[in-house]
Symmetry: C2
Subunit: 527 residues, 2 copies
């Protein structure tokens, strides 16, 4: 396998000499636009479809991106990854989150363990635990059933599982599979834990402490916070807590927890939603069957990502169009705009996934690089965003590429017809309209009412946001980020950039500071 | 008053010839750094302070920015604004949101009405209404008291009031002033309304329909959705609904509402939190006294914004540093990172406030301009963000300026000591550490562990997130955006960029489409 800096590739040179991109404003107008929509779409798994007609692409560009994919060996690198190569060079680790979802390639053995079997065993352990909680076999100190599950974790132990929970909470209610309500405590701000605890029935709550090392400051602090609250209420913490951690952590197999389910070093936090980190809380909330359906959707999408033909590989295609926009069109930000209230926290998950993976200035060997890497990711659900920041997206001085997501059907069985259309139809009409408004704009004599258009977007369209569709969307973006990391030749699986702040915060708490750090500590009332 | 394009100013030329900015990495190191923190801070109102030592500024730059402020007549334009000039040129309207908070200048008379008196009268109407609801004088059809208030609105009728409610909900609980819980319905996605309605006690909920025109599609649709739910539950909608609207709207003085409180054309949605749009829901939730305290904080900050000396005017200073970063350092994104869980939705409000106001490509006379205007705004609370996208902020290939917010004390009376420090101390230690990590970075032989530093940030520090502090922060950012709009010579008070999408969505719903718009409508299952 060749790991070469992006700007050393022949295909980089070719892309940089390709000239101006297709004029989307013209290309999407009239009946030619309809043909483009027909042509530039690719099926995903789980009833989803990736449509990229409103991106600044044409066949010439796609051919050049195919050459890039081939020269950079992108799908071959993916194959190496799922077959257990040490892709995380910085930390010298394998990268195995896809193994949670299926056996994509060869058996992967690490530390004498078949890792696919290990991940399945942890899913089964999480399922068995959830089933016992649901059946009233694991109960509180009074022998009563738990009604609420609270995850204590931060970063990847919070954002992904929280986004998935919120994405399916209403679907589960509508389908009668909401077994328990879930809540999340993450911030070291003591008001976060206080507010969550004030909103739950403590005696009937079970807390899942999630920390791979068992040493994450925020999580241990919040665990202690919760234990104190339990004790104050006359409850026994050991009867209310479970752990998701590594087998070597102080939390593992500890009698202070009802159960320990394991994670390992081969799955990073931001890729851990389909591991035990998501398994326990989501199996408790929705039941193990629903969690398995999420994994099925993700696994099906992982399989599609093997295809070396970019026109048949939605994650790879999405990745390469993003690279083109970032490195050749100079766009520094991508907006993720799901037309689904259930996906309200999904952009926050993608922020971590993408920005923590590819916000790097060195290549996978630790050498400085000379080209742009990961963009800023932000987003809110539509139609809300339309009444907020879309003004800048339509008429601002920078072009912000957009990733829409939309579904034909809503999740709950309730809608209303106003002015001859349902709310769901209005929602879908708005996303269709926005794609065209961004692409084609509108001429107007009054420059204030003029829309330049040529603002590229793509859309993932699905029938409904089901567990399978959700898993597929999750895996799509994980794989997109992975392919972009391969292209940029960065290590998408470490995060050295988070260390310095931790070190300095410890200095402050140890009062081992000088200069401006002392000044800020005083300003903030710590000293 | 002279309204001149930014790049035509002498001070623009001077700024562009100023050369490289101060090296923050060096300037913030050692004891010189401590002196910088001492020097580059300015008091705000309500116990807050704006510290900009970690920005790329020095006295030479500040002098140049002062010249810019003077030449562009920024505080004089503010004076014109609050004295009732037609600042919103596109819509030919005055801009009067500051009048909700105090009489800053002369009496402003519009349509024969003293507008300060009008806004005060609406506040009093909202207060009287809230007091009657709290006292059980306005009750449901069974004569029972209301326990929950639900705002139905979108954009500025949602984001600002929701952010303020969330910012004070726990403070109010801790201080015994939470009168009613508030909820919000905004999205036309029918699952938004369904989920909120499923989570409230319908019989004891009062709904506030907020739409200036009385014609906002999402809001009318959601109102109908709610009315249908009320009827299905055997309840009388007219006994459960109030309106915030303009005096000429179909909702005004309509017997279908318990009360109508009025807004007018001189306060845009994103500036409306301190008008009736915020007054009704926040007075219901917290009581009129708390709402008045928010206004007091905002009013005090508005008064500070009059000062022509940029070193004594935090909003103006913040605005000008932002302009410098945007137009001379080329930074296209600003991160807003509050170290306060209570401010979790404040960045979403600022996204609208900033991006909808200044995401423009024409000047206030509708003529195209040749320089960058408003940046992209995004953010999440710390310390959560540290475990998410901070990787890119520290080590990514673009520099993203940061706006921190932090408070010495938390809002609730509950904390825990772990490893010799409270959670609140840990929270504050982290923000102090992050400022220094971003500014000074860290040298390391391993480029993967190298931090370049020179990543500029400022911080607003307060004693505690009280109603006054919240109002002051709200006004600070409103005024910052206003001053930036003046500098860029754009109209920060219209939003023509949101119109095209609305028009196309109507076409879709009327099935009056062709070409790609038809294709997308089919893909999304509308046709």
């Amino acid at each position: 396998m060749q790991w070469v800096n992006f700007d050393k590739l022949d295909s980089y040179k070719k892309l940089s000499e390709l000239g101006a991109p297709v004029n989307v404003k013209e290309a999407m107008a009239g009946e030619e636009g309809a043909k483009r929509v027909e042509k530039y779409q690719v099926p995903m798994s789980s009833g989803l479809l990736y449509s990229y007609a409103a991106k600044q692409v044409d066949d010439k560009l796609l051919d050049a991106l195919q050459e890039l994919a081939d020269e950079a060996q992108l799908t071959a690198k993916y194959e190496e990854l799922y077959n257990g190569a040490v892709i995380n060079t910085g930390e010298k680790r394998m990268v195995l989150h896809q193994l949670c979802r299926g056996q994509l390639g060869k058996d992967v053995i690490a530390d004498g363990v078949n890792k696919r079997e290990f991940y399945v065993a942890q899913q089964e352990k999480a399922a068995a635990f959830a089933n016992k909680v649901h059946a009233g076999e694991i109960v509180n100190e009074k022998g009563e059933k738990f009604t609420t599950a609270v995850q204590i974790g931060i970063g990847g132990s919070d954002l992904g599982p929280r986004a998935l929970y919120m994405a399916l909470e209403n679907w589960a209610k509508a389908n009668g599979t909401l077994k328990m309500e879930a809540r999340f405590i993450s911030n070291v701000d003591p008001d976060d834990a206080s507010a969550v605890l004030a909103g739950v029935d403590l005696a009937h709550s079970i807390f899942i402490v999630v920390s791979k090392s068992g040493t994450t400051l925020e999580t241990l602090t919040n665990e202690a916070f919760v234990k104190e609250a339990l004790k104050k209420a006359g409850l026994d913490p050991a009867k209310h807590m479970a752990a998701v951690t590594s087998e070597t952590s102080p939390l593992a197999g500890n009698p202070e927890y009802l159960e320990s389910v394991y994670m390992d070093d081969y799955i990073g936090g931001r890729y851990s939603s389909s591991s035990a980190v998501g398994a326990v809380i989501l199996s408790l909330a929705f039941g193990p069957d629903v969690f398995a359906r999420i994994l099925n959707g993700a696994g099906a999408e992982d399989a599609l990502a093997k295809n070396a033909d970019i026109r048949k590989n939605p994650a790879l295609l999405d990745a390469l169009i993003g690279v083109y926009e970032r490195n050749f069109l100079g766009y520094g930000v991508t907006a993720v705009l799901p037309y689904s209230q259930a996906l309200i926290r999904f952009p926050a998950h993608l922020q971590q996934l993408d920005m923590e993976s590819n916000g790097k200035s060195v290549n996978r060997f630790g050498e400085p690089i000379d080209y742009k890497t990961g963009p800023v990711i932000f987003g809110e659900p539509g139609t809300n965003g339309q009444h907020s920041f879309y003004q800048l997206l339509h008429q601002g001085t920078d072009i912000i590429p957009i990733q829409f997501v939309g579904f034909k059907k809503n999740q709950m069985n309730n809608d209303v017809v106003i002015q001859d259309s349902t709310s769901q139809q209005k929602l879908c009409a708005n996303v269709a309209a926005q794609i065209m408004a961004f692409a084609c704009g509108k001429d107007d004599e009054n420059p204030n009412k003029y829309f330049a258009g040529t603002r590229p977007s793509s859309i993932i369209v699905g029938e409904q946001l089901t567990p399978e569709a959700l898993g597929a969307i999750l895996a799509h973006f994980e794989n997109k980020v992975m392919f972009q990391g391969f292209t940029w030749n960065v290590n998408s699986f470490d995060q050295e950039g988070v260390q310095l702040g931790k070190i300095l915060a410890k200095k402050v708490l140890a009062k081992d500071t000088d200069g401006a750090l002392t000044s800020y500590s005083k300003l903030l009332g710590i000293f």
